[in-house]
Symmetry: C2
């Protein structure tokens, strides 16, 4: 645990993690090898192992960086707006770092930013009158939704509604008629999408608000004041 003796040391670890994020953002998780990272840093692969114990510890550090980018819920906004913004912020972070989606909840040693983020969630909901049980339900439902949405979004031909409409149209055109005949309902929806385009932002917010509506009904009545004030 010689983590905090010489300040230069910490600085180096930071640089390694920062560069690792850059590499993963650009080349994906597959493109992030210890060797490739070392080369980007202008150093021999083995030099990295003075700063991180192994690749897993590097990933821990990277994931906590992403957590640090997520805006904590602000109780001053009222629980609903606070949850809404933090969910949007989490999705945004996962869009900036697509490689992270599958890793955010799977780390066995959650970092400080991760803990702080979850503590803020619990605090915000508890203060707003949610019971322990309901707090857990809300967190579970919201997080599942955001992770799942990010997971789907990650691999789809992303971009503007126009671009995704275009992609749907091409897919449609490339579909042989005998296949189209087998899946008429799917074809119908895809051709609607080809015309109308697909707006991920709008889609995300629709589902998010749908869940928040549901959460509202889980809330105990005695905490009916929507504004904070403890």
């Amino acid at each position: 645990m010689s983590r905090d003796d010489p300040p230069r040391q910490t600085l180096r670890v930071d640089r390694v993690v920062t560069t690792a994020l850059d590499v993963a953002d650009r080349d994906g998780l597959d493109g992030l090898s210890m060797r490739a990272l070392a080369q980007t840093l202008g150093v021999v692969p083995m030099a990295l192992y003075k700063h991180v114990a192994n690749k897993d510890e590097l990933l821990d550090g990277m994931v906590d960086r992403v957590w640090a980018e997520v805006q904590a819920p602000d109780p001053a906004l009222g629980w609903r707006e606070a949850m809404r913004r933090r969910s949007v912020s989490l999705r945004d972070a996962l869009r900036r770092h697509r490689w992270a989606v599958g890793l955010m909840e799977s780390r066995m040693r959650p970092g400080p930013a991760n803990l702080a983020q979850h503590d803020a969630m619990m605090g915000c909901l508890g203060r707003s009158g949610f019971s322990f049980r309901t707090t857990v339900h809300v967190t579970s439902a919201l997080d599942a939704y955001v992770y799942g949405f990010a997971l789907q979004e990650k691999s789809l031909p992303f971009g503007t509604p126009e671009e995704s409409g275009e992609a749907a149209a091409q897919k449609l055109e490339a579909t042989p008629p005998e296949l189209a005949a087998m899946f008429p309902h799917l074809i119908e929806v895809v051709s609607e999408l080809a015309k109308a385009g697909y707006d991920y932002d709008e889609e995300f917010l629709t589902g998010l608000d749908l869940i928040l509506d549901g959460v509202e009904r889980l809330r105990p009545e005695w905490a009916s004041a929507d504004r904070p004030g403890e």
Copy 2:
């Protein structure tokens, strides 16, 4: 495209994919190397390449097997029960094949079972009076939720509520007091969980029903008969 000339051929591919599923279920996606798979099949690694073009095509086949395990929505049940059961079925499949969570929607060439499943979704919702827009919203919200839930569940110390309560208790005990002081709300929730345990099934269904409630309100009024009958 010599996929269907000799029946022996197809049989072999099936066996390769089946075995690959077994290996991945047991050893995870990391444990599934072409070399390990070959060894399990009692064959030299290169022999596999007569049956699948490459590892990616193998994964395509594996993912479609998982899709085939997912119960298609049955319009005879009414849209709500149909959606509910298919969501539960999808989660179950993802629990049996934890390696699949990140792959279900990321394949560029969706297989027949995948297409059939999505066609059934669109058909069921369309028949129940959902507009094109709403059909897309419902599918997006439900799927995001199921994938995200499965993603979280995948890595958590799974098992019975008692086991997860136990795990929470241990985590709590291992937390140094100065860390606990920094995250009081989180600690509070975890200690509640340690007492009460965490029931994943109940949690999943709570969120699912919350979303289905929300979907109900998205439905056009003119389709108010809840039973099918086209």
